[in-house]
Symmetry: C2
Subunit: 390 residues, 2 copies
């Protein structure tokens, strides 16, 4: 049985305000579930979703899962994988670590919980651990995830930085994973422009990973937020990186991959975004660059949208198309008799309307009316003997 007054003490500054007993119990048992499970545990998601974390745990403790919520085989398998982690003191230890690292614990009951991650349904996070200001998660939901290769080129880092800075300047939050390469370029450019950026981590937040980004992560937490769904004290394993990628895709409104090798982890993020029906942008690069091969793959295989600048990304966000920079792409196809009349003129010698008509294959009447218009625009001039280009 859970000692509520101890739970209240241990949660202490991790939760906001004075909570009634049932909410303390809910949060405490969510942390328990957080420890029992790996991210994306479908059975846990279904069970907690159906009866709440406290009752769900009670049923596991009583070994009483035969109520039709889970398939019996799933239930048996689930209990077997949760049981090895049932250790007394595990929750207390995690909460102690969390308090020491000044984390916040977010649950779906909190106002600042980002509803966008609920699109993951039973694969969604049961809690979120946050360093920094949880309120920025609201804007992150309408923001852009910029992700890409750790082994980025200077081209990729340049494009990621420019894109992040321009989007941030429009008030758009930038979400990424604080990794080397593209992620870091996106975070740094956003910070430099005093924009809001959110980093999603694969391990417990008490430790910076990669360690070389300790200061960067600190700076992100200062004005934005650093977020993880795994309990304090958890190592950033490969599995957790892949699940972290799903959270990047779920939190943000659009995912943009800037550079990615043929098998880059950021393709995994894009696939999660695709599965969630979120728009995906891919930044092209030279076909001779291995660092862009994954982006080209997304364009070919996942029907990602080709994005070349911040304006293209804003369109994906549904901010509407900006005024066209240079006419529609088929404007050159809308050539006209006008082109033919101009083709038939010379800038050196004068030509009569009859000569021009014969050269361009138009009637003399048509030629004369075009000449009139071209004259008004100052493109042709009438001289002795006919017309010539100015």
């Amino acid at each position: 049985m859970i000692d509520l007054s101890r739970a209240r003490d241990e949660l202490g500054p991790l939760v906001v305000g004075a909570l009634p007993d049932d909410e303390i119990l809910d949060r405490y048992t969510r942390v328990l579930w957080n420890i029992l499970t790996e991210p994306g545990d479908r059975a846990a998601g279904q069970l907690v979703g159906a009866v709440g974390p406290a009752e769900a745990f009670e049923r596991v403790r009583r070994d009483d899962l035969g109520d039709g919520i889970l398939d019996p085989d799933d239930a048996r398998a689930a209990v077997e994988r949760w049981r090895p982690r049932l250790r007394s003191g595990a929750v207390s230890a995690a909460l102690r670590t969390a308090r020491a690292a000044r984390l916040r614990l977010l649950t779906p009951h909190d106002e600042t919980w980002p509803d966008s991650v609920d699109d993951l349904a039973e694969h969604g996070p049961l809690v979120l651990w946050v360093r920094g200001d949880p309120r920025v998660l609201e804007s992150a939901q309408h923001g852009v995830a910029i992700v890409g290769a750790r082994a980025a080129t200077s081209y990729g880092e340049h494009v990621a930085g420019e894109m992040a800075a321009e989007l941030a300047a429009c008030g758009i939050s930038i979400v990424s994973g604080a990794a080397f390469g593209i992620d870091a370029a996106a975070h740094r450019a956003t910070l430099a422009g005093r924009g809001t950026t959110v980093a999603l981590m694969a391990g417990g937040l008490e430790r910076a990973y990669p360690q070389a980004h300790t200061e960067l992560i600190e700076r992100i937490a200062d004005t934005g937020a650093v977020v993880s769904e795994v309990a304090p004290g958890s190592a950033p394993t490969k599995w957790r990186f892949l699940q972290r990628n799903r959270l990047i895709a779920a939190l943000s409104a659009v995912t943009v991959v800037v550079e990615a090798g043929w098998r880059s982890g950021s393709l995994n993020t894009a696939h999660h975004a695709s599965a969630l029906g979120r728009p995906i942008g891919a930044v092209p690069g030279p076909v001779t660059s291995a660092a862009s091969a994954g982006c080209h793959r997304l364009l070919r295989e996942l029907e990602a949208t080709c994005v070349t600048n911040a304006a293209d990304v804003r369109e994906l966000l549904g901010w509407g198309e900006l005024p066209d920079e240079g006419g529609s792409a088929d404007s050159s196809a809308h050539t006209s008799d006008r082109t033919r009349v101009r083709d038939a003129l010379s800038s050196r010698s004068a030509r009569t309307p009859e000569e021009i008509a014969q050269r361009c294959g138009l009637s003399v009447t048509d030629v004369q009316s075009h000449l009139g218009l071209l004259q008004v625009e100052g493109l042709v001039v009438a001289i002795a003997g006919g017309w010539r280009l100015t």
Copy 2:
């Protein structure tokens, strides 16, 4: 009235074999139409399509177009634009030039006429003038048009050359426009690999355009073909370049744009291909390169397919997908318990199945079965005290 025996003499070596009178008349009057009209003249296409070139010309001469083939307004406008070009001796002069330049005259009656251009319907060419071997037009119909910017970068020329050479090595004909930049790179690489290449020109074939490509065009004609739909003696005007682009798109099976500025003429070629329902490929490049802006535009606005190499282009041709170089793009999403078990192992210290189960959040039974498989693959080893990574 047309003097048939003179027509036969004048056509002379321009046509293949001994033709009966009606075919001589057809060819001769087609050349007449060729001179009266600019490429893509819809009214001429409809009229000639309906009653044949000789009867169509007879009706124009009699000023008798009130038969319902053309809209009366269209008919009036058409006659007015054709009339300025009605000069006696024009056909003879064109045929004289053609004979001197050793051209061949192709009409839809000829066996080597490429049916693919008939998809242009009433906008299609009435004749084709050919230097070189008209038989290569058969393979050009199943070939690839590689087009792009005149102001290409070395990146673009490199990619165009590699792509053309690889496709040509598979027996695929390369169609282009003999312009500076991408066009020339595609033709040259094909010639270097002894492949077949076809150049479509905007002006009469008696003169090389651009003049600097006189030797290149000569070499193309030696083993492939140089083709134009405009009569000998016609200058390559802007209008004719745009119409030449429609012919590149219509002749070949797939159009690939390698580099193109924001308003490049090769976008016009791509739009024609799109209007004809032919697949379009666009080669991406750095978003910082103005020479690739048109390609990215095609990817965004025309839903062109991103092509990065010859294999991608072969897919567009329907040659079928080649074996995947590196697994499907979402393979990383198909992570499994196996990843979690490996994450939970150390290469330094041994861990018991129970410890591993607790670390990875799986049941001990599952862990043991994965350990067994991993051991078979030589990825883990059982030692005193448990298991470790090899």
